[in-house]
Each structure stands twice: as C-alpha cells, then as structure tokens.
C-alpha cells in the first residue's frame, strides 16, 4: 500500500464532513434540530464501528466516508442552535466556545490516537471514537427542541390553532427549496458573491494547511523515510506534537471572547446608549480576523525555518501555537461576519458554501503534502 493510499481513510472522512448542511438541513427543517442530534450522530457511530470491524481496505474507506458524511449533520446545525438560544450581544461568546470543539477535535485526535495506535492497533482508534461518542450521545438524549418554528408547530398541534408561517414559499416544492438553499445557492454564491468567494478561499486554505500538518508532522518528527527525518520520535510522541495546535485553539477562543467583549460588546452598548438599537455593521466582527491573519504566516514561517536538527524540537512546536490561534480567529470572525451580512437564511447558504470548500480542500491537501 502506498503512503498516499494509506491516507485515504482520513481524506474520505473529511470529504464526508463537507456534505453536512446538505443532509442535515432537510431534516432540521422538517423535524427540528433535536432530530439531527439524535438521528445523525447514532448512525455515524455505527459506521465508525463498521470501520473498526472491517477486514478490507475498501470496507474501511467506505465506512469512514459514511461515518464522516452522516456525522457532519451535527456540525451544520450547531450555529442554528446557538442563535436559537442566545441574543446577538451574548452570541459571540457562546459560538466561540462551540466553534472551539471542531478545531480542538482534529488537534487532540493524533495526541491520543498516537499512543493508542502504538500500544494497540489502528482498530482501537475507532473504539476510542465510539467511547467518546457513546458518552456524548448519552448527554444528548434528554435535550429539548430549540428551533422556533418546530416549537410553535407543536404548540399549534397541541392547542389546535393556526401554526407559524412556513419558511417555504407557498406553491414551491419543499424538497426542491431545500436543495436550492443547501446546494444550488451555496455554489452560486461561491462564484458570484465576492465576500463568500474570497472568505471561503481564505478559510479553506487555512483549513487545508491544518490538515496538511497531519501528513507533514510525521515527516518532521517521525518519518517512514529515515533519510529526510529531522527529529526521531515514536508514534505516541509524534501525536503529542499536535498539542501545540490544541493550545493555540484554546488561546484563540479566549482571545476571540476578549476581542468580542472589549470591542463588539462595548461598541454595541455605546450605540444603544445613544438610543440606536440596530445591530452594528458586520465589519465590526472582523477585528479578530485582522489579528489572526497576521499570526498565521508568523506561525508557518516559524515552523518551517526552525524545523532543523540543530534546533531543539520544542521550537517548531511552539511555532504551531500562533498558527492555531490565527486559524481559529479568522474562521470565527468569518462565520459571524457571513451571518451578519447575509441574514439567517442566506447566511446559512453562505456558511454551507464555506464548509463545502473548506472540507473539500482539507480532504485533498494531505494527499500531496508529502510530495511537496
């Protein structure tokens, strides 16, 4: 098996993640957000179990792809749950904490997975997902519905009165409408809206660099090609290298909250004090991205220039911290900016476009990182 083929179970999973909004939007529109959390997460865990039991490479790849695709549903509705629960002025704190999770996940995966793969074998990495997954699922079950329209529809049914207006314009096929919002419109916005296009290209590039690290770190720290290897770590230690990015993500979350409290919240309160209760301009969300965009190249140059045998291994790892912070800040500002700019419905399409490009690029980048 070639080195590139060995990466396939990673890349198909990430590719599957990009389909999130496409499959979860119709479900959450019809049956609410809770349905997505309850009925998408479970099959994803079952496919992960299938991947753990598979005896052929093809079976492994297929199970991993389906696990990623079904599991991505939960990634796409999280932002909606957030706006259900928190008023705009409090929302940034909640969404920073929520967005931390999908960034911390990839960083902590190899950290724990490295030791598991070293002491046991790769199947145990899948059992590890199951272990966390069952725990998360048990916590998920008692939740209530948060989606306004579904709550009102149930109330209408219970009291036998008129329900809320439908989001779907009358006379339009419901499925067709949802496909437009989740696939056709995101693709159109990706090509015709310069904000969506450039922001998506930027965050997708950052994301693909992150996933490129999954292939690049082993070359630097632990390589199947000993002649180009720089530091000699074992599998478990090479996984710990990702803690640098993890620390960066946590710091990035704290910085994002601080920037929100010091700038966005302060300006909102000042504006309200003057009797103006309209939300601030979307551009006010971008201060975090301004800081993040400076930290990204700093981290990358630091990592690349210091990865030498005569430099201590901690130096390049420390360089990944600014990268982790920058990646998180840019993405966080991007999501808030898109939703503020396009409103809830078009914002969802813009975010879907962003996710599609982000995970598609993130999936293919590791495949040619080694060759570079």
């Amino acid at each position: 098996m070639s080195f590139t083929a060995a990466l396939l179970p990673l890349t198909v999973y990430v590719l599957g993640l990009g389909f999130g909004p496409t499959i979860s939007a119709p479900i959450s529109e019809n049956w609410g957000r809770r349905a997505v959390y309850v009925w998408f997460f479970l099959p994803s865990l079952l496919f992960t179990m299938g991947a753990g039991f598979s005896n052929t490479f093809a079976g492994l790849v297929i199970c991993r792809f389906l696990a990623g695709m079904v599991g991505s549903g939960t990634l796409a509705v999280g932002a909606g749950t957030n706006s259900d629960l928190w008023a705009p002025i409090h929302r940034a704190v909640a969404s920073s904490v929520f967005l931390m999770a999908p960034f911390l996940g990839p960083a902590l995966g190899p950290t724990i997975g490295g030791y598991v793969a070293m002491k046991k074998d790769w199947r145990w990495t899948q059992w590890l997902i199951l272990f966390w997954g069952v725990l998360a699922y048990a916590i998920t079950l008692p939740q209530k519905e948060t989606y306004k329209r579904i709550i009102l529809e149930r109330r209408a049914k219970r009291l036998n009165i008129q329900g809320p207006p439908s989001l779907v314009p009358p006379g339009v096929n419901k499925l067709k409408f949802i496909l437009v919002v989740t696939i056709a419109r995101p693709l159109r916005m990706l090509f015709t809206e310069s904000i969506v296009a450039f922001f998506s290209i930027y965050t997708a590039f950052n994301f693909s660099v992150l996933f490129g690290f999954f292939a690049a770190f082993p070359i630097v720290f632990r390589s199947p090609y000993p002649e180009i290897q720089i530091y000699h770590f074992n599998t478990g230690e090479a996984g710990l290298v990702f803690l640098g990015i993890g620390i960066g993500v946590v710091l990035g979350t704290l910085i994002a909250i601080a920037i929100d409290q010091l700038i966005y919240r302060k300006k909102t309160l000042e504006k309200q004090a003057q009797g103006d209760f309209t939300p601030l301009l979307p551009e006010e969300r971008l201060y975090a991205a301004m800081l993040g965009s400076c930290l990204l190249p700093i981290g990358l140059f630091w990592f690349a220039w210091s990865s030498r045998a005569d430099v201590h291994w901690i130096v390049p790892i420390l360089g990944t911290i600014p990268f982790g912070i920058g990646n998180f800040l840019v993405f966080c500002a991007c999501v808030l900016y898109l939703v503020d700019t396009y409103g809830a419905l078009y914002g969802a399409s813009a975010a879907a476009a962003n996710g599609l490009l982000r995970y598609a690029l993130g999936a293919v980048f590791p495949l040619f990182t080694v060759q570079m």
């Binding site: 098996m1 060995a6 990466l7 999973y13 990430v14 959390y37 997460f41 994803s44 990623g68 599991g71 939960t74 990634l75 999280g78 259900d84 629960l85 928190w86 008023a87 705009p88 002025i89 904490v97 929520f98 931390m100 999770a101 999908p102 996940g105 990839p106 960083a107 995966g109 190899p110 724990i112 997975g113 598991v116 793969a117 070293m118 790769w122 990495t125 899948q126 998360a136 916590i139 998920t140 948060t146 306004k148 329209r149 009102l152 009291l159 009165i161 329900g163 809320p164 207006p165 632990r222 199947p224 599998t235 090479a238 309160l269 309200q272 004090a273 003057q274 009797g275 939300p279 409103g343």
Partner: protein, 118 residues
Amino acid sequence: MQGEHSDSDLETEKMSVPSDSNSAVSVSVPIAPATLDLEKSISRETRGSRHGTALDRTITSAYDWTGPDDPDDPLNWTLGSKIYHTVIPGLQAFVVTFGSSVYTPSKYASFMRSQAIC
C-alpha cells in the same frame, strides 16, 4: 421569509434588555422613546418571575411567540438549560472531528508493516 423578519425584530427587541446598560440609557438619552423603556421594564419583571406567572398564563397564539417573555422561547430558558443545549453541539462536533484525525498516527504503523511485507 416572513418568519425571518419577525425573528430579527425579536432579536433587536432582546438587544434592548441587557441590564447593565440601563444606567447608561437613562443618563445620556433624553429623547429615548417611552414605549421602549416600558417594554424593557415589563420584560425584565416577567423574566424574574417567569416560573410563577408566565407558565400559568393561557397561550393563545402559535403564529409567533406571544411576547418577549414567551416561556417556550429558548431565549427565555434558564441559564443552566441554555448552557446544556450549547454544550451538546460542541460535544458532538468534538467527537466527529476527533474521528477525522485520530486515525492518522496509525496509518504509519500499517504503512510500515506493508513495506516490511513487500
């Protein structure tokens, strides 16, 4: 689309409620509309006594929330309940993305094994 509009209207209403901004409002805005202040004080009162009165009240409309104090509106849930419902997508997103990369370290082990066989 209509739903979206009423949604954002509701949000701007909510934005006028933060309690720590009230002092600033009363100092610097002589022309603040009286209705806004009224609305604010009402919603603040009902927020405090949500458990006592709001649940007993008969609900007459399912077209939209009955007001900013509608007990079914997630914006009016208790802080603990809000945090719990925010944690759920976070936990699931963590598990799903954790699954993306947890596999990577093991691929080198399998790669080396296959090299050894060849």
